[in-house]
């Protein structure tokens, strides 16, 4: 065994020889950025060997480092193996930084009908004249106290073994926990004395980046704690594809364990902050995309990522929490949301449950945007869905100074029409480091309204203004001058960035229109547009409409449901009756494969304009643009 010390935090870990530095760092609890899943391809996991011996392939490193950097000990953590005691410096840029994570959900006034309940009973001890068996005595007691009919309840063998001692030891005063499971009402726990107030459940949004847990008091029907955590699988690859490939190469078990660990970490934080015992958590409801759900269950997701994209299972599932390593009550249950397809997963079904669109007569449009986007349209009778790649531009990727919603990211921006100077705010209020999705959308809308760009997104270099430059490769607009930034260089938006943004927004809009056309629905028939996910929360709705990201409907009818996945999970947790509808919703949704839809490409080209080629689809935006452009002359 060798000791590896990670600087600057002096975290130490003992690992066997030949362990990769990446593996060691992960075991030390450090979240290292690995986009490629540790294949040595992405060059993100840069570390510096301060002292000690490592081994790695020089050739692979040459691609990523200069001779000077190599001389300083630079290497890729995923490629370097431990050959002795080591001191490793991990630069800030290699660590995954804490993001502004979304933990709010839409408030729901849902009735309390949990699938698990506790019953405190004080039983009469058996006598010669009342010699009924212990179990019957217990179950009748529960029935008498408002529980299910005794005949419909059952106790597993483990419980039967405990019952006689426990009943007598507690002087016939016990609390029984009854859960409604696929086989009926099951006695999942029996405790001495009155613990009936100690009944908790957790709703989990298992995202590929973040895990969010809401802890509920299932007796009072109150939320008691919220916690979130990074999905630890990120160390095996940033995107889903990289993780599936990791699973193919190294087996699924590590990813399964990391998924469970990520949930457990958040669960522990939440339980600690609420001051409760994890053993009192009897049910965990999980909403996650189809691949995450498969991984959590340890089911091979490999067949889902290649044609013909077949998941192993899409219906809702209930399993014992212990079987997949979730740290709640040892007899607790786990409920997993169903999916529509490989692309439309349980998180989207949870979104649908959260916004209630499947119960309404009116037509709603639900949009969930990340690197991929999902769109669902419909009402209580019918629903269409589709998914596609928006490209990372809306999340700040593929944009020169784009970044995720990390501290220092500009998330809001306006441009003064008189001076063309911007005013902005950043996450955490520190000096700007880059632009995040909502900031980029603001910027695009503002540049358009001030005629700095034309509707094609081309910068009008004819403008004589110091912020508008011809740039090195592309014309650019200077958002923040170097001296005002945290990074010491000008933060600019180039014409190429704008092109990428337009392509991303065009995909989303074209997907919406494709669904509308498939159903024969006009934008006027859409009553509400729901934005799910982090993206919607920071978004300026007016600007989203201005650039044509979504079909134009009155701004008041655009709603953010925030983290719909966790909201949906909350609902399913506190009201078990809602769960029954989930499979029905999932079956009802027709999935449209955009690549097979010839009209999609046409819609895409049409949408790749600001706000759109068919201006009659954006009458209000058009009016607004005309006014402010007239003003500019």
């Amino acid at each position: 065994m060798h000791t590896v010390t990670f600087l600057p935090g002096y975290r130490k870990i003992e690992v066997p020889r030949e362990t990769t530095v990446l593996d060691a760092a992960q075991r030390a609890g450090l979240n290292i950025n690995v986009v490629c899943g540790g294949q040595g391809k992405c060059g993100k996991c840069v570390v510096y060997v301060q002292s000690g011996k490592t081994e790695f392939d020089q050739q692979k490193n040459l691609k990523f480092f200069t001779q000077e950097e190599l001389a300083q000990g630079a290497c890729l953590a995923c490629q370097a193996t431990v050959q002795g005691d080591l001191q490793i410096i991990i630069p800030d840029s290699t660590l995954i930084q804490e993001q502004k994570i979304l933990i709010e959900g839409l408030d729901t006034g849902i009735e309390l009908h949990p699938s698990v309940r506790k019953y405190y009973v004080e039983l009469l001890p058996p006598t010669l004249s009342d010699p009924s068996p212990d179990l019957s005595r217990l179950l009748w007691g529960i029935q008498k106290n408002g529980g299910p009919v005794a005949e419909k309840m059952y106790a597993p063998l483990e419980a039967l073994r405990e019952i006689p001692t426990l009943l007598r030891h507690s002087d016939w005063k016990v609390t029984g926990t009854i859960a409604l499971v696929p086989g009926g009402y099951r006695l999942v726990d029996l405790q001495e004395n009155d613990t009936s107030k100690r009944l908790y459940g957790a709703a989990v949004d298992l995202g590929s980046t973040t895990v969010v847990v809401y802890l509920w008091d299932l007796v009072a029907g109150k939320m008691v704690a919220v916690a979130s955590n990074y999905n630890k699988q990120i160390s095996c690859g940033e995107d889903i594809l990289a993780r599936v490939n990791f699973a193919k190469k190294n087996g699924l078990s590590k990813l399964q364990a990391l998924a469970a660990d990520s949930i457990n970490a958040a669960l522990t934080t939440a339980a600690n902050s609420a001051g409760i015992d994890r053993e009192d958590i009897y049910e965990v409801v999980v909403a996650g995309n189809t691949v995450m759900t498969h991984m959590l269950l340890g089911i091979d997701p490999g067949y889902m990522i290649a044609e013909p994209y077949v998941p192993v299972v899409r219906r809702a599932l209930s399993v014992a929490s212990g079987r997949i390593g979730i740290a709640c009550n040892r007899n607790g249950g786990l409920f997993l949301f169903p999916a529509v397809s490989d692309f439309i997963g349980g998180d989207i079904i949870a979104d649908i449950l959260a916004c209630g669109m499947a119960e309404k007569e009116e037509i709603s449009l639900l949009i969930d945007i990340g690197t991929n986007f999902e769109v669902v349209m419909g009402n209580r009778e019918w629903m269409f869905s589709c998914a596609g790649a928006a490209g990372p531009a809306l999340e700040g990727g593929e944009v020169l100074f784009g970044m995720r919603a990390n501290p220092g990211a500009i998330d809001k921006i306006t441009i003064d029409p008189a001076t063309l100077d911007p005013a902005y705010s950043t996450i955490n209020g520190i000096k700007p480091r880059g632009l995040t999705g909502s900031g980029l959308i603001d910027l695009l809308a503002e540049l358009l309204m001030n005629c700095v760009i034309d509707r094609n997104g081309r910068i009008n270099t004819g403008f004589n203004h110091p912020r508008i430059r011809t740039g090195v490769h592309f014309p650019e607009y200077v958002v923040v001058r170097a001296e005002e930034t945290d990074i010491g260089k000008d933060i600019v938006l180039t014409e190429n960035d704008i092109k990428n943004l337009i392509m991303s927004k065009a995909s989303v809009h074209a997907a919406c229109v494709t669904l509308m056309k498939e159903a024969g629905i006009s934008r006027q028939q859409i009553t509400t547009i729901y934005f799910a996910g982090a993206f919607g929360n920071y978004l300026n709705k007016m600007n989203a409409a201005t650039i044509g990201l979504i079909p134009e409907i009155p701004i008041s009818q655009i709603k953010n449901i925030g983290n719909g996945a966790v909201t949906g999970a909350n609902i399913a947790l506190i009201n078990r009756r809602k769960r029954k509808t989930l499979d029905e919703i999932a079956t009802k949704i027709a999935y449209i494969e955009l690549n097979a839809e010839p009209a999609f490409m046409d819609e895409y080209t049409s949408s790749a304009f600001l706000p759109h080629t068919d201006l009659s689809l954006f009458p209000e935006v058009q009016k607004m643009l005309d006014t402010c452009r007239l003003h500019r002359g």
Binding site: N456, R458, G462, T605, S606, F609, T613, L615, R629
Partner: protein, 317 residues
Amino acid sequence: MGSDIRFGWTGAIGSVILGATRSEGGTRKISYRVGGGTTLPFLDHAPASSPLVALEICDEPQYWPQIVRNYCGDLVDDVSAWATTAETVYGADLIRLYLTSTRQRNFSDIPLVGKAVEEVLSATGLPLIIEGSNEPGIDSEVFQKCGEAGEGERLLLGTAEAGRYRSIAAAALAYNHSIIAQSPIDINLAKQLNILLREIGIQQDHIMIDPYTGTLGYGFEYSYSAMERIRFSALKGDADLAMPMICSAIDSLTIKEVREADTAYQDEMAVAWEFYAGLAAAVAGAEIICVRHPKTVGRLKKAFTSLKTGSDPTGRI
């Protein structure tokens, strides 16, 4: 039950005026009002004008198809004579002058461009289409020069594209010329360019759409459908597409089928290739058909005459 075709069109194609006679402030013998259709091409009960046929010529023949150089002989070396012949012998309705001289390496003799335009203007009384440079570096000066040289003549200037439209638009605005708006075979891109042009002040009646014409056998079907869709949308009331269209299958004389045809009937092959595409394009909605082989001009004009006659005003036959 009636047998009239009812499409329920709500829009009409706008018109663009090309050329100016003396009374209109220019020196042309004739001017045209292009466009104005109210239904699919050749179905008008009260016929509007026939499509026009433009002969394409150039000021530097080294960039011109060999077939035309062979057919026209020395004529191609004298752009004035070429223009005169196009009008008097070949019977073209319009002349489209390509300023191919600007394609020469490091071309910078801008006054030469103005001179070529002036020469052609004096050699023919027909309205003129001028095709400027292909080089962003000199675009602005070339278009400015062309615009100036043809002031008052209501030229049609080519070619504006989504990535470069500002300099040509400036010249058109300054001297009251119209422009060709070219986009790569896509109705949406055509519309987008028209919107961009409108937003910098070009009037709708100063734009002709060129949806880019793939040569017969080399993508012509895409162009054909793009034109049909543009015409259809315009008639359905889309004002941003309600401009007349111009078509030029410029590769017709250099594609393999023509180039490798037996010399004995190479001209015939060239004419057939231009003719079939030109006729189909007119049926799809093009109002100006540009060709390069002199023999194609007369054949297309004859066909358009036959297409324009014989429709009974009731729409019945």
